[in-house]
């Protein structure tokens, strides 16, 4: 187990270097960011040269990357064009996005798994068909449509919520979290349903029922535990996707999270911001995947890591 974790952690190093390099080059290919700072006007050459020197943009790309990586290991993520430290931006953006992700994941687990169990146990019944149809609708409607629709209905028509997020506290993030989770939620429902329906017919469940265990215990202890393995994989991989992929939701509800910073960073071609945020997201993705793999062992004692 220990060796397995160590090996996985070591594997992260090349992935980490590769992905940061890729992003670094991609942002760089977009061209010189200084030109965009002066509005509809050419920066005067002296100031432009000075700014380039200050941000290290006058050096060759490999040297910029080396300096950047060097600074990274001392915890210095660089400075954005408006003079703010990127770590400062992260400090304000990540807590909000993490909260949003927690809300979204909670929705996926609570609603998705519950619906999945209910429909899986009652296959072919009206409730099963109803939920299946519902998930089909949710999957096929794009997030921005769901988001804008909910914002209009709940925010303006019925005035239940405020249409935008101010403080990024949990209660404000309930509706955005639901919107963000909606598509994954539908997948979780379907995954759980199939998994449950399949395992319901398996020998160990029949044995448990024959032993005379109460139905509740059969479902929760035996059936669910086995059926959740694919669902856990899905949710684990989803954590990273939700954190990085919240750009649309964050824009609709004006949440100042990671998506907002990334979007602005890309528009302003701010290498430091974009690379910094993506680097952290890559790390989150890698760690989440490792945790999922370790969770397997907990859920299924037959799986052993050596």
């Amino acid at each position: 187990m220990g060796r397995y974790v160590a090996r996985r952690l070591l594997q992260m190093i090349p992935v980490f270097i590769g992905s940061t390099l890729l992003i670094f080059v991609m942002v760089n290919v977009m061209g010189d960011p200084i030109a965009g700072l002066c509005g509809e006007r050419a920066c005067d050459p002296a100031t432009a040269a000075q700014l380039k020197r200050e941000f290290g943009l006058d050096k060759p790309l490999w040297q910029q990357y080396a300096t950047y990586m060097g600074n990274l290991f001392t915890g210095d993520f660089g400075t954005a064009f408006n003079g703010q430290k990127v770590t400062e931006l992260m400090g304000s953006a990540f807590p909000v996005t993490i909260r949003l992700t927690i809300v979204a994941i909670l929705f996926e687990i609570v609603i998705g798994v519950t619906l999945g169990v209910v429909t899986g146990l009652r296959r072919g019944r009206p409730i099963d068909t109803g939920v299946l149809l519902g998930t089909l609708v949710v999957i096929s409607v794009p997030t921005f449509v769901t988001g804008l629709l909910l914002q209009l209905l709940l925010g303006i028509k019925w005035q239940w919520i405020s249409p935008s997020v101010r403080y990024g506290s949990f209660d404000e993030l309930i509706v955005p979290g639901l919107v963000l989770a909606s598509v994954s939620l539908a997948y979780v429902t379907r995954l759980t349903r199939t998994s449950i329906a399949e395992n319901k017919r398996s020998d160990y469940v029949r044995t448990a029922v024959a032993k005379g265990l109460p139905a509740r215990r059969v479902v929760v202890r035996h059936l669910l535990r086995n059926s959740l393995i694919p669902v856990v994989t899905f949710i684990g991989a989803d954590i990273g996707a939700l954190m990085g992929g919240a750009i649309v939701t964050e824009r609709i509800f004006n949440i100042h999270g990671v998506g907002f910073q990334l979007y602005q960073g890309i528009l302003r071609q701010n290498t430091q911001t974009v690379v910094g945020f993506v680097t952290v997201l890559v790390l989150v993705f890698l760690v989440a995947n490792l945790l999922v793999d370790l969770l397997y062992a907990v859920l299924d004692p037959r799986i052993r890591y050596a």
Binding site: G36, C43, D44, Q151, N254, H256
Partner: protein
């Protein structure tokens, strides 16, 4: 947050200590007499000589007062801190300050406050993006050389005479120089700016009707009325809270829900419903913004006599009226000259100066383009940045209009570029092969500002490298002219040179628009399309 307070507290209790910062810290926004307004994250640090876009400009407009101020309604430059500005020869100016002005930290505004601020703004080592505004002042070439380090720290053209008087010597005649002094870059700065720069940037201190109470970079700024403000235009409300929105649609939605008081950029997609949505609480007033199509004169194909005819033909092939009505719903007006209606007739705006060249006439357009040898390169590619400002819609419409006039579906296509930075990069790098979008927002309401930076040989925004001796000569003469009316007439003659060559195709004048809730009254936009915050009344 109607009725959701309980839920928030519950959520905060559940969330526990880890995330406690987000809870309880509410209450800072809105409040009695305080209005909330939409904002965008300023692109550059909030220094007066470093702010060149509207969002940062909004704040400076509230926190600073300069020598002059542009009247929010007429755009006329009026003395603010200046008691009088005298010149014998349009080159040497003596500026006398009014007494009694202070910064909100108590420091007196003196001649030094201006001279030090201007020297800082011009200094190359300070990276100020508006440094070129000081380019007319004697000694600029030492403080801001084109290459190498600066050899002087102060502009030799600036001299402090006494606490309330200083003199300015320019390196050329520039009669309307005093009228440019309302621009934010010329604002005075307190000592604190120089002694503790980092702290000042966190919470700028100025001499305007508002002072900054708190500034959370990237999300909000709360300004409150400065009660001891000595000027003639104190704030009529208790304060203003600026909230950053990433999407103006969300800000608009928030105004509809009563969650935000003022949105000063109504998105184009909402213009259709704005009257019914806001029940008349919507303003749409001319701003000093002109949209044009510029051409690459560094490309020999566009710099011929035939190409001149082609450009005029293209101008006549664009149905400006239809595009402004259908896409922009009256928030833009077809242009008939190269300035803006906000200048007023006395200021140099002359409707119809463009003449038939700006009228829609597809038959004549086709004829002219054929006479000129057809579109250089066979196909027109209009380059624009696709990330902001709904440029795609109008570029497609313009192309459609040209294609219809030429009976050729493939004569014109849009050429989108992903980001503004990349677009600017390609324009300033002179990589264009056809016309490109050029928008001009005036710095100060003078006809000079609409012509010289854009069409003078080697000027800072002359991205197409257009050059005409006659134009340059007329501008030089106009700048040297002390009589205002004569100067304006000379500028208009220069503008006629632009027209005869169709150096750039004028498209439309842009309006500023804003929507607000019924809590507010006396809402107006100034000619820079910034809300006049100090005049807004709440409740």
């Amino acid at each position: 947050m109607r009725g959701a307070t309980h839920a928030r507290w519950a959520a905060c209790v559940i969330a526990g200590g880890l995330l406690a910062t987000a809870c309880g810290s509410g209450g800072g926004f809105g409040g009695a007499g305080v209005l909330t307004s939409s904002w965008g994250d300023p692109q550059n640090p909030l220094e007066p000589a470093n702010t060149n876009e509207v969002q940062g400009g909004k704040v400076l407009d509230m926190v600073f007062r300069g020598l002059k101020k542009y009247d929010p309604r007429t755009g006329k430059a009026q003395n603010m801190l200046a008691e009088r500005i005298d010149t014998p020869d349009s080159r040497n100016f003596t500026i006398r300050l009014k007494g009694g002005w202070t910064f909100s930290d108590g420091e007196k505004v003196t001649a030094h406050s201006f001279v030090d601020a201007w020297n800082y703004g011009a200094g190359l080592k300070n990276n100020q993006k508006n440094a070129y505004f000081f380019g007319y002042i004697d000694g600029y070439d030492k403080v801001h050389p084109e290459s190498g380090a600066q050899s002087a720290d102060t502009l030799s053209g600036l001299k402090v005479v006494d606490d309330r008087t200083f003199t300015v010597k320019l390196n050329q005649k520039f009669s309307t120089f005093p009228d440019t002094l309302g621009y934010a870059a010329y604002a005075p700065l307190p000592r604190a700016f120089f002694t503790d720069h980092a702290a000042w940037l966190k919470k700028p201190v100025g001499n305007g009707p508002y002072q900054i109470e708190s500034y959370a970079k990237g999300s909000a700024m709360s300004l409150k009325k400065w009660d001891a403000y000595p000027g003639p235009d104190p704030a009529q409300n208790v304060g203003v809270t600026l909230l950053v929105y990433t999407d103006s649609n969300t800000a608009y939605t928030d105004v509809l829900a009563g969650n935000l008081d003022l949105v000063d950029d109504v998105p184009a997609t909402q213009l259709k419903n704005v009257d019914t949505d806001l029940n008349g609480r919507y303003i749409n007033t001319p701003a000093g913004i002109l949209q044009t199509l510029a051409f690459p004169y560094y490309d020999p194909k566009w710099n011929t006599d035939g190409a001149r005819k082609v450009r005029t033909g293209l101008s006549m092939a664009i149905n400006r009226k239809q595009i402004t009505e259908t896409i922009f719903r009256g928030t833009r007006t077809p242009a008939t000259d190269w300035t803006s209606p906000v200048l007023g007739v006395a200021g140099g705006f002359k409707a119809g100066l463009c003449g038939p060249a700006c009228d829609y006439d597809p038959a004549q357009a086709k004829k002219l383009i054929q006479e000129g040898g057809g579109i250089p390169g066979g196909r027109l590619r209009i380059t624009y940045n696709a990330d902001t400002g709904s440029h795609k819609q109008w570029v497609d419409a313009v192309c459609n209009s040209i294609n219809n006039a030429l009976d050729n579906d493939k004569a014109c296509v849009g050429n989108p570029i992903g980001t503004f930075a990349d677009f600017r990069n390609q324009t300033t790098g002179h990589k264009m092969t056809g016309p490109f979008r050029a928008g001009w927002q005036m710095d100060y309401p003078l006809i000079q500002n609409f012509l010289q930076p854009l069409y003078y040989t080697g000027a800072s925004s002359n991205d197409g490298l257009w050059s005409d001796k006659r134009f340059d000569g007329l501008v030089d003469r106009a700048n040297a002219e002390t009589d205002r009316a004569t100067a304006v007439r000379l500028f208009q003659q220069a503008e006629e040179v632009v027209r005869d060559n169709m150096a750039a195709i004028p498209l439309w004048y842009q309006n500023g628009s804003a929507g607000y809730t019924d809590r507010l009254s006396h809402v107006a936009l100034n000619p820079f399309s910034v809300p006049v915050y100090n005049e807004i009344k709440v409740g």
